[in-house]
């Protein structure tokens, strides 16, 4: 009975255990780590997009009071190079040349950051500028030159076509072409990057505090690049104030900090400032898609041809290039939730003299959705059909799962059509058209935009690496309270809450009696970390499997100690009892006592103690979440300013662990989607200077830019443990497309259709005046 009284934690709106410390300023971030004698680093960075280095003069900096050491490539010559995949790698400190503005050239290690920055100004680097490579289409043609003489500018090239593509394409009655452009963005986590390293004099081990998403990957990278065996490296990830894929890499600064700590046997720290963050955090979304579409008179899309290009920046970010991630994955889900039989893609990823491209939440997704949903709206407008109706006609039907798309990706069951119909109802699509027509007469331009998305989650390989599984250690302490550790690297997702919810249900202990550890490679079992929307389904799956195994052990104990059959034992509220006989019960605390101290009473066949580690590798290489976003916007045609006025989301991420947390993820993603759609762009000038180096120029969405968001959930369980699907990225995958489609819809009277992200006021004015003169 007691079991029924306690609500199941899975699916409950549990308040996040992280929030009290975060909201009261008690959380400990990387910059809060203070160790006596700690030195701080400032970098001298390249002011040129491309230049040869003729000399580096550090004498004055070395002599500056408070400076401990000055490092150049000579003192720290590690190369961030993924040899198997790429022909080039970035030296952590520039070696004879610089290839992008902001590239680290010299590191100053000083008693504090003020002194380090003073000394950095005293370093003289003699540069001989060379012509920068800045344009993707030119770079493909090796123009104006090669970025790296030893490697072609195109570092990734791939072609794919479904059999019979050309014939199907040619035979179709209608065709249209469009070119889509996304502009560079970066994650702009609230807490910037940072690393601190210190050597333990006694053991010789090095402890690295890192603001990263993958603790074990960071350990592996440091160990591999610096040739220190893994057991001598401990990575601790403190509270992380946002990662969004940007903190999934190992950066030059990470290595320099560790190298300095090892070399000088001093604790050393570097924390990025906002300018460094905009210049040197991996950039993302620098893509062009030249698209051709073939369709019939009913709006049924028959074939899509896409030439995908991405500017990977000066080097492949270590250990993976975002350009490859953005394009190769986009090419595999370009057909989204639609049943489009034919697809032909060609990919070119190129080097340039810009900051390396990496991952940003959604990676390929926001780009692919922008194209896929832009294509559907263009087909609808071309034929004069309602865009929701064209979606209906193309949508994958419920009976078609598991569905193999034209690129060969297999979708597990989802609620595509249902999510769209419910979202249309939620936003009031029917009534909208009348309101739109009426307001247009008053000179007000409202628009509505639909974005139906698929979100591949929990992929065997993602920016979190190719560790396709996750691990969870559960230890029931002698007190009966629970400590569980996972290899995840949360940066605000609330894993301490969701993982405890899952484990509480399995062990029948109170949620409050569970502590979740993560982010310390000395305590957490090996895992892939957080990224690619894998923590819920894979991490949660591991917690579930470990919990279940521990539950079996508890049941065996209880059955033995209560002298009952295992099948009759129930768990809940920190107790085990015989079903129907609540008096015959034993506290889990007592079981734990037995397991650790009264070991003679341990049932036969069970080990001493209550501790185990389980690993979970999902059977499917990927599980697809889905949903529909609908945005309503108002466009001021006189100023070009766009306001997102209403927003509806129907989201399906399988079985929910915690709806409140899912909604928080959606709210954040929609906010970032508004940034992607109308505000955020990193802009390089014709010399390759990044001109958006502060938040005065790089515009982020603020609370006033985000409307109230109506969210509804659907639950189509995955076939994996717990029925969980990932959902960290879907909201940002869907949102930009919904918003720009709404802008296009608003500008229908001017024939305008958005083809570039973000849409700026001058672009809107251009579309308005262009349409007028036509």
């Amino acid at each position: 009975m007691a079991q029924a009284m306690r609500p199941q934690m899975m699916g409950a709106r549990v308040s996040r255990v992280e929030d009290p410390r975060l909201l009261s300023g008690q959380a400990r971030f990387l910059d809060d780590i203070q160790v006596p004698g700690m030195l701080e680093v400032a970098f001298v960075r390249s002011p040129h997009a491309a230049a040869r280095i003729r000399g580096i003069h550090t004498e004055k900096a070395v002599q500056y009071p408070g400076v401990h050491a000055v490092l150049t490539h000579q003192e720290c010559s590690v190369l961030l190079w993924e040899r198997d995949t790429y022909k080039v790698g970035q030296p952590v400190l520039a070696n004879g040349e610089v290839c992008y503005v902001g590239q680290p050239v010299v590191a100053i290690v000083a008693e504090n950051r003020y002194v380090a920055e003073d000394a950095a100004e005293l370093v003289v680097v003699e540069y001989e500028p060379v012509t920068p490579v800045l344009d993707m289409r030119e770079s493909i043609l090796e123009q104006p030159r090669r970025v790296h003489p030893e490697a072609e500018n195109v570092f990734f090239h791939k072609k794919y076509a479904t059999p019979g593509f050309d014939e199907a394409f040619a035979k179709a009655p209608h065709h249209l072409t469009a070119s889509f452009r996304t502009n560079r963005q970066t994650a702009v986590s609230m807490e910037p990057r940072g690393t601190a390293a210190m050597v333990d004099a006694a053991s010789g081990r090095v402890t690295v505090y890192a603001s990263t998403q993958s603790p074990h990957r960071m350990r592996e990278d440091i160990s591999h690049l610096m040739e220190i065996p893994e057991h001598l490296v401990r990575v601790i990830v403190p509270e992380v104030g946002g990662g969004f894929g940007m903190k999934a890499n190992c950066y030059p600064e990470d290595i320099v900090v560790v190298a300095a700590a090892l070399k000088y046997k001093k604790p050393v720290k570097w924390v990025s400032d906002r300018m460094e963050s905009l210049e040197t955090d991996v950039h993302a979304r620098d893509d062009i898609h030249d698209v051709e579409v073939a369709f019939d008179g009913d709006g049924k899309i028959i074939a899509i041809r896409d030439h995908l290009m991405a500017d990977g920046g000066a080097y492949p970010a270590y250990p993976f290039s975002g350009a490859v991630g953005e394009t190769s994955l986009a090419s595999r889900v370009l057909t989204g939730p639609y049943d489009i039989p034919h697809l032909a893609t060609e990919i070119h990823c190129t080097y340039s003299n810009k900051t390396p491209l990496g991952a940003y939440r959604g990676v390929w997704g926001p780009i692919a959705s922008f194209i896929q949903e832009g294509v559907v709206d263009r087909v609808a407008r071309h034929l004069g059909l309602d865009s929701a109706e064209v979606r209906r006609r193309n949508m994958i039907r419920p009976g078609q799962f598991p569905y193999r798309n034209a690129a060969g990706m297999v979708y597990d069951e989802g609620s595509y059509l249902q999510s769209m119909e419910e979202a249309l109802t939620l936003i009031g699509y029917e009534g909208f058209r009348a309101r739109q027509a009426k307001l247009r007469e008053e000179g007000r331009y409202l628009g509505i935009g639909i974005s139906v998305f698929v979100e591949p989650t929990a992929m065997a390989s993602s920016e979190a690496g190719s560790v396709g599984y996750e691990s969870c250690t559960i230890r029931i302490e002698p007190s009966g309270k629970v400590t569980a550790a996972l290899g995840l690297g949360p940066s605000g997702q609330g894993h301490e809450t969701t993982m405890a919810q899952i484990i509480a249900d399995q062990l029948g202990v109170r949620f409050e009696d569970i502590v979740i550890l993560h982010g310390d490679t000395d305590s957490a079992p090996f895992g892939g970390g957080t990224g690619g929307s894998r923590s819920g389904p894979i991490g949660g799956g591991a917690a579930l499997v470990a919990g279940r195994q521990m539950r079996e052990r508890l049941v065996k104990y209880a059955a033995s100690l209560l002298e009952a059959g295992e099948e009759d034992i129930e768990l809940g509220n920190g107790q085990a009892w015989v079903a129907g006989v609540p008096d015959r019960s034993i506290a889990i605390r007592t079981i734990a006592e037995t397991a650790y101290t009264n070991v003679r009473k341990i049932p036969e066949g069970l080990p001493i103690g209550l501790e185990l580690t389980a690993r979970y590798l999902p059977k499917r290489p990927v599980t697809f979440s889905n949903g529909t976003h609908i945005a309503e916007v108002e466009v001021d045609i006189h100023t070009g300013v766009v306001e997102v006025t209403r927003y509806a989301v129907v989201n399906d991420c399988g079985t929910l662990i915690n709806p409140t947390i899912v909604e928080g993820q959606i709210h954040g993603g929609v906010a970032q989607g508004i940034g992607s759609a109308i505000l955020e762009a990193l802009h390089y000038d014709e010399d390759g200077q990044l001109v958006t180096t502060s938040l005065l120029d790089y515009l982020l969405p603020e609370s006033t830019d985000v409307p109230r968001i109506d969210v509804r959930h659907l639950e189509t369980p995955s076939e994996g443990e717990g029925g969980i699907k990932g959902m960290g990225e879907g909201s940002l995958i869907a949102a930009p497309a919904a918003i720009v489609n709404a802008i296009s819809d608003a500008l229908t009277p001017f024939d305008g259709m958005v083809d570039t992200l973000p849409v700026t006021p001058p672009m809107v004015l251009q579309m308005v005046s262009g349409g007028r003169t036509r």
Binding site: V641, L699, P762
Partner: protein, 267 residues
């Protein structure tokens, strides 16, 4: 992003402030710090000495004198936006102040700092020009007064000498009635372009900001009543101002039209 080394001096009186400025050629005034401190952190500004004027009482006054409203240099944007005297005598100034940044910035930023910083897209410098205000400047040599439109010289440039201190602004009363409008990408941003339009018995005029290198005030005989004619005139006026961005002209006309309509309501 740490400032270069500097010394800090707290001035209790304008005399102390002027003395500190006069004896240190590398000294700069610290008012609200909302523009200066970011510049120092970028090391784009590197004063040897910061002269903090935040404790100087007389710079915080808002007073109605005979023919003028005097506003001390240290009056915060949030005070401008709420002060009953300003609300009554120069409502457009209160309205403009409400469009500056966010609460935290308005609570620190000052009208004197905004004027001396002279961002071409800032609301207040243009308001001072539009209202035909005077700038009263203190110097070791004594006070001098100049019209606002002679104070602003270009991008982030004013007629203020290094050793001078802006004391107050004097707005002639009754203040001219005018409408205000601006285009921002996000609420609280600096304007892409903005305008004050006056349509009073005294004069018909437009003052642009965010369009050229500094606030630009243009006087016309009268605003045409017909919208097309009026917009054509506004377009002609806007194009007399040198702007880096072609798209701003279209925006400027629309913004000025909105300011004109607001001015009619002010009427």
């Amino acid at each position: 992003m740490k400032p270069a080394v500097f010394q800090y001096r707290k001035a209790e009186t304008t005399r102390e402030a002027l003395e500190a400025l006069g004896t240190n050629p590398g000294a700069k005034v610290l008012a609200g710090g909302q523009s200066l401190v970011p510049l120092m952190n970028f090391r784009l500004s590197r004063p040897d000495v910061l002269v903090d004027i935040n404790g100087i009482e007389e710079l915080t006054l808002v007073e109605k004198l005979d023919q003028t409203l005097a506003i001390g240099a240290l009056v915060r944007h949030s005070t401008l936006s709420q002060h009953p005297l300003i609300e009554r005598e120069v409502p457009v100034l209160a309205e403009a102040a409400r469009h500056i940044g966010h609460w935290a910035i308005r609570n620190r930023g000052t009208i004197g700092g905004s004027a001396v910083h002279a961002d071409p897209a800032a609301e207040l410098p243009a308001a001072l020009v539009a209202l035909r205000a005077s700038v009263v400047v203190g110097a070791p040599r004594g006070e001098r007064t100049m019209p606002a439109d002679e104070f602003f010289l270009g991008y982030y440039t004013t007629a203020l000498a290094q050793d001078e201190l802006v004391m107050r602004f004097e707005i002639p009363l009754p203040a001219r009635r005018m409408g205000f409008s601006e285009v921002v990408r996000r609420p609280g941003d600096f304007a892409l372009v903005g305008a004050y339009v006056e349509d009073s018995d005294a004069e018909a005029a437009v003052t642009w900001f965010g369009l050229g290198a500094m606030p630009e005030r243009q006087v016309v005989e009268a605003w045409p009543k017909g919208q097309d004619e009026r917009q054509a005139l506004l377009e002609r006026l806007a194009r007399e101002v040198q702007s880096d961005d072609e798209y701003k002209y279209a925006m400027a006309v629309n913004v000025a039209e909105r300011a004109y309509l607001a001015a009619q309501k002010e009427g």
